[in-house]
């Protein structure tokens, strides 16, 4: 086949002195070069040269971790752009948000992208956590990486929460007031913690400065450090968690699949009619192009979805922060509404004890659940108890979030979403 224009241009550039100095391997032609392309490139070397077909199947992981990573990249890109206009001062912050909306070219889309990618990232990190649980992928030797992931989940919430204050609108101001007061219910250190977080007793300039520093520097820095460890450990812990191979060798040979212990003399044992022609025992293919192509496609899909949302739906911006009157009802971002619902029963139990116990339980989980059964399969029967407990917690979290989101009207009174709220506002003056 005649090389395309793109191919000829690329090869022309690769052949120059400069091209050869940058790209150590050209576009791979042979299997050897396909492997070398992965190993010798800075950007690609964190991935294996070959991957199993199983790992490439969309149903294995649903690509949730990768989607979270892509969303993070979008957030860094749009976030850095926003930093060129945003001023973290109580007298200017809201005005710069309005500038981004109405004055800056493409400012509205960039801000919308940042907001929707942030919401999606919280969602997809949660889904990724659920996937790892339901496939039992946190078990040995992946206990540590599960906890690194848990840390990344908490950092995602922290990033989202600190970013929430920056527009300095009513929503932001009161969500942070409520959030900081929840922190003050922590035993012993609570009040000091709130004082340190806000840099004072009330949400003001010091709080805005601190949240800004946390949002653009401290938390992203820690996130990227942990992310590096997270991805590195995925490789070092043996790639994606896979089910153990069937014990009955003969049966598996007859059905045509071969156990994964790299016994290269298997041809002599095989009884079945289909020899494993063109397949190695682990059923692997070269990452270039099979994995790389899929990842690129997924990245494009994620960008497309975020761009679609950003163009057709505007990120909310309420009136400028008014430290005197909270909006009614004053609601936290959706991922904290379950927490806010719990807090409406008791700030200490709902805001500190329940979330504290949940995070501790998740952190200890891989060390407590030591059975090796059911790894790498969705909803494995052997894990019925663990899966049921986790599902119940998940359902509870979703129910509380839904109640907080849709069933709470003015003054946090019970309200049915499909009816117009009663005149509960009348008591205000």
């Amino acid at each position: 086949m005649k090389p395309s224009f793109l191919q000829r241009t690329w090869e022309g550039f690769r052949d120059t002195r400069v091209g050869r100095s940058i790209f150590r391997v050209g576009l791979p032609g042979s299997n050897l070069e396909q492997a070398r392309a992965m190993v010798s490139s800075f950007l690609l070397h964190m991935q294996p040269a070959k991957v199993s077909r199983r790992a490439l199947k969309p149903t294995t992981t649903l690509g949730l971790g990768l989607i979270s990573l892509f969303l993070l990249l979008i957030l860094v890109g749009t976030g850095v752009l926003l930093m060129f206009y945003y001023v973290p001062g109580t007298d200017q912050a809201y005005a710069t948000m309005k500038d981004l909306q109405y004055v800056v070219s493409a400012g509205l889309v960039v801000r919308n992208m940042h907001r929707w990618a942030a919401h999606l990232m919280v969602l997809f990190v949660m889904l990724h956590l659920c996937r790892v649980f339901f496939t039992g992928a946190y078990k040995a030797p992946r206990e540590f990486n599960w906890n690194v992931g848990l840390g990344l989940f908490l950092l995602t919430l922290g990033l989202s929460f600190t970013g929430y204050l920056l527009p300095w609108d009513q929503l932001a101001f009161w969500a942070i007031t409520v959030g900081a007061n929840i922190a003050s219910y922590a035993p012993i250190i609570g009040p000091k913690l709130k004082f340190m977080l806000l840099g004072g007793n009330v949400v003001g300039q010091s709080a805005l400065t601190r949240f800004y520093a946390l949002h653009v520097m401290v938390l992203p820095g820690i996130t990227f450090l942990l992310l590096g460890i997270h991805l590195w450990r995925v490789r070092k812990d043996g790639g994606l968690a896979a089910p153990e191979m069937p014990v009955d060798l003969t049966e598996s040979l007859e059905t045509g699949s071969v156990p994964s212990n790299k016994t290269y003399g298997l041809m002599e044992l095989a009884k079945g009619t289909s020899l494993q022609v063109g397949r190695d025992p682990e059923d692997e293919v070269f990452s270039w192009p099979h994995l790389i192509f899929r990842e690129l496609l997924l990245f494009l899909a994620v960008v497309a979805v975020v761009l679609f949302l950003a163009i057709f739906f505007n990120a909310p911006l309420e009136g400028i922060a008014n430290p005197i009157h909270p909006p009614n009802p004053a609601k936290a971002p959706w991922y904290f509404l379950g927490l806010q619902e719990l807090v409406s029963y008791s700030a200490f139990w709902g805001g500190v004890v329940v979330p504290g116990c949940l995070v501790t339980a998740l952190a200890l989980l891989p060390y407590l659940d030591r059975s090796r059964k059911g790894v790498g399969r969705w909803f494995a029967r052997e894990r019925a108890v663990a899966n049921t407990i986790f599902s119940l917690c998940l359902v509870a979290a979703i129910v509380f979030t839904l109640i907080g989101s849709f069933f709470r009207g003015p003054s946090w009174t019970w309200q049915v979403p499909w009816k117009t709220p009663a005149a509960a506002v009348s008591e205000e003056h």
Binding site: W174, T177, V178, A180, N181, I182, K192, F195, M196, G199, G200, N201, V202, G204, Q205, S206, I324, H325, P326, P327, N328, P329, A330, Q340, V343, S344, Y345, S346, A347, F348, P410, S411, W412, T413, E427, E428, H429
Partner: protein
Amino acid sequence: MTPEENNDHKTTRRGFLELTLGWTTATAAVAASSAAAVRFLMPNVLYEPSARFKAGKPDEFADGSITFLDAERVFLLRKGNTFRCLSAVCTHLGCTVNETKTGYHCPCHGSVFDEQGKNVSGPAPKPLSWFLVTLSPDGRIVIDKNQVVPADKYLVI
């Protein structure tokens, strides 16, 4: 004695010094810098509105009135010739409470307080605070939000 001969479990002078001086110093250095960093984050000067402020002359408030002072987030109550001052900051999570016919109500999580500021229902764990009200030499009312007083302490004009 060469280092190779040190492999027995006897404590050498070097090992002892490493353990005591070395590790103690290292731990102390880390602890001290962490403490300094935490202390650094606790501001010593706050640019917040003063907790002690003047609210105007007594005759600016009608008899039996409950006046909400926005900037300070307090209610000033006058009954006859007595004055009291009630915090408008909900003891649950710090939202501003609204005055109702029977007392006070918080819009954030629905805490209800009676006319004496006592928490009647909802998640609020404590009653609203009453603050000290005094009269300044120039005849104006002074409220000090740093001084919490019992509900039955009045300023009598």
